[in-house]
Symmetry: C2
Amino acid sequence: MDIEQFVARSEGKWRSMRSGHSLAFQQFEEVLSEIEIKKVSPDDQEVINLVQSTPEAKGEQGISPFRMEWNAESDWEPEDPSEVSAGSCILVPVPTSSSQGLLLRSLGYAEAEQALSQYSFLSDGTFILRTQYEQSIAEERIWFVSDHVRCRSSVLRTSAGSGVLQTSFASEVRRIEA
Amino acid sequence: MDIEQFVARSEGKWRSMRSGHSLAFQQFEEVLSEIEIKKVSPDDQEVINLVQSTPEAKGEQGISPFRMEWNAESDWEPEDPSEVSAGSCILVPVPTSSSQGLLLRSLGYAEAEQALSQYSFLSDGTFILRTQYEQSIAEERIWFVSDHVRCRSSVLRTSAGSGVLQTSFASEVRRIEA
């Protein structure tokens, strides 16, 4: 699996069931949402701006940039940008080898700021994303269980120590348009 | 990571937050439970019986056999044996190489019968378990995010087709005894 294949498999509309676990308080959270992933042109001005404004990627060529839009139906929590009721961001992969690279996001997962992630693939094609935010470190994993079902987990920890703050898991089923 | 290291890291008492996703009905389920994992002797009569009653493992030597006990605090569903309010089973790994092998269970995860699984490790040490039941196929993944936090996901599909029935995700935090 390389990043182009991964983005190609991810394109489309997905219905997501997402559970959040707050470990310290043993609290559960449930969110139903719609996610749409669509490719954008490498020449898109937003893509170019994102690459140019990221020192680690400046001058590099983004591959398979895409836009992600989400629309939560329930339980949104304003403090977590991934769960704001609706939003969208641009993501730009910048490979450093066939199995790893950088992922630039116009909006982060754990904190609402531009974010720079490192991605890599495990031996079975599982996509791993590590992001250092100001206050926290996020590790996400995405793996396909079939062409139309993918799973996504995240672990959020404090950047100071090794404390794990919360985890989440989403089951995403492709919406087939009639 | 090999199976002996994996079992050694897993030993102990864990508090588990588990979310189940029923994909067809978009239903969530939440379960809090206590799990205890402890090694048992390879000479234990239950271990010997389990190996001897499994044609694929007969005559082989089990390594790091262990007992798993669970105790759910909420939301148990009698139709899913993994969520019966309390229970225990014996598990016996039978390696075929340093990174894969068979796992014998006195009680299955998806169906309440003796079960035979194939296990393997991904490049980052993630433990993968595949089990063919009479009515279904389960894939579980377990990975450590720290010495005291592990994540466990499962995907259950019909054995006839490729339909994904349900997924689950558990966040497990080690209980440190004072």
